[in-house]
Amino acid sequence: MLLAARELQIPLLAVMLLGGCAAKAWRVLRSRSIKAAMDPAGLFPLRLHRPIMMAMCATEFGLGLGLIATAGRIGTTHPSLPATIVRAACALFFLIAMGALNETRQRRPVAGCGCFGDFSDTPIGWRTIARAGVLCAAATVTIGLPPLHMPSSSTTAEMWLAVLAFELSLIAFLSPELGEILVRLGYSEPCELRRLPVERTIAALHASSPWRRYAGQISSAAPIDVWREGCWRFVVYAGFSRGRRIDIVFAVYLQARRPVIRAAVLDAHTDEVLGLAETREFTAMR
């Protein structure tokens, strides 16, 4: 059973490391700035934040891949030297993380650890530090393990699952991120705060029946104005109708699928609304 528990740590650690790296990368991509993911480097001077952050992400990625790559049979000696180096480096990484978390907690009590990007904004507590300790211990017990193999019997497989369930429960208990994830899973951002590219708004508009209705009157290839008021984005096109210049204003509700679209036609010079019957509510037909 002990051997099964030790073997299990390798995939578990690899998943944790690659998951941490992916969560940080996702945060950077989402906010379009590496500064968003610099919580873990908060102890260092500002000019070192970026290189430390990049080094940390690269280390997590490298160790995660290294654990997987060295888990099987390499060479003739067991345990192989590369596997021992990767696992020892992994233990050292989590040991340093423990110390850094403890230091950050004392110096910047309101800062989150940033270990899993957006999900780790909760101030560092004893649970976050203990989690790093558990992962450090997990990495230590993998040193000297023989190559991994599939469970030889159903009893061994059940034992693996039991150990896995226990350890996942322990990590979940020590992870403040779990609460944040559960909240976000059931969270729908209000339309006033929703970020939706203009291109999607235009695409939805071009596929709608109001657009087809007014397309013959539109004279500008691109919108002459685009603005937003809370849940609505307004798109204005120039046009001609019955010899006079008009502005055709489309209001597109900011939702990803089947947005409500309204349209109004205004005189370009006086802003007088032309034809109230044309100011109706439509639903985009996609």
């Binding site: 906010s31 968003a36 309101v110 976000r184 969270y187 705060l193 603005w227 937003r228 849940c231 802003d271």
Partner: protein, 311 residues
């Protein structure tokens, strides 16, 4: 625009309390300002308060100073408050040169400004801003000089976090509250007209407004667009949107247009205590004229505000 729309916009632009201009002459009884409409004379009474970095007698103001004054009654001739050469710098400290000179980054749109902290103001400012180091926020009011601001008054208390780590606001379920309460501050006109009545809004549509167009210069330490939504969740609007703003301290309300990007306001999660303790976070960064028009005192730096979205 239609006549109706024209009238609505004109109403948002009309200043009834505030006058701005250059001081042409001043004595204990009359202030003469060179305004956009020519020379204008304003009677002063013994209760008129003036300031140039600190309280001063009106007669102590200097000819040539840029001044902003508030009338006692809407459209009335008598002014009861005069501020001369008042300035403010709000942003992230980019560089510190010696104990008294700071280069402050006000965001990609406004650039960097030099702040000099005089010996007489050092103690007062450092009590409220203990970390005058690169990466931390600063917000000071003082006297404008050629090329720099002489800081005299701290406009708030320094947030404990670095500028690029403001707290994350709580998630909002349902719709964003309307009206929303918080702090309203003011900013220097910069490239805007002195008498512009409007506000810099902290949450312009990131797809079409300042975040989209903003260019952060290399080494910019305080690009507010990269730091998330700030500590107040505000609905996305655009330049030109109209909203109602109420000064809860003076109980005065005006409809104001959004005239510029106020993303730097998102970095501050402070409260205003001008008349009561406001909710946390800055919801509007008013032009000087709008701030004074709504009854705010420039040297206070803020007032407790309630904002209602919609024209």
């Amino acid at each position: 625009m239609s006549p109706g729309v024209d009238a609505a916009w004109a109403a948002t632009r009309a200043l009834v309390y505030t006058v701005t201009g250059r001081i042409l002459d001043v004595n204990p009884h009359v202030l003469v300002l060179g305004t956009a409409w020519g020379e204008q004379r304003f009677p002063l009474d013994p209760g008129t308060q003036a300031g140039r970095g600190g309280p001063a007698a009106p007669a102590a103001l200097r000819r040539g100073d840029h001044a902003i004054a508030r009338r006692r009654y809407p459209g009335g001739p008598v002014v009861d408050r005069i501020w001369a050469e008042v300035g403010r710098v709000t942003g992230t400290i980019a560089e510190r040169e010696g104990p008294a000179a700071l280069l402050v980054d006000e965001g990609p749109a406004k650039g960097r400004k030099l702040v000099i902290i005089g010996a007489e103001a050092t103690g007062r400012i450092q009590v409220r801003f203990p970390r005058l180091e690169p990466g931390y926020l600063v917000d000071v009011i003082g006297v404008k000089h050629d090329g720099y601001l002489q800081a005299l008054i701290p406009a708030t208390s320094q947030p404990p976090y670095p500028a690029d780590h403001p707290p994350t606001p709580p998630l909002v379920s349902g719709h964003v509250p309307d009206p929303v309460s918080g702090t309203a501050i003011w900013h220097e006109p910069g490239d805007e007209p002195d008498d512009l009545l409007g506000l810099a809004y902290p949450a312009l549509d990131p797809e079409t407004s300042c975040e989209h167009a903003a260019f952060a210069p290399p080494g910019c330490s305080g690009d507010p667009h990269a730091t998330g939504p700030g500590c107040v969740r505000l609905p996305y609007l655009s330049v030109g949107s109209l909203l109602w703003l109420r000064n809860d301290c003076a109980e005065r309300t005006r409809q104001l247009p959004v005239t510029s990007c106020g993303a730097t306001a998102r970095l501050f999660c402070d409260r205003c205590v001008t008349c009561d303790t406001s909710r946390k976070g800055r919801i509007a960064d008013l032009t000087m004229a709008a701030f004074v028009e709504l009854g705010g005192n420039l040297e206070a730096g803020c007032f407790n505000a309630t904002m209602t979205i919609g024209g």
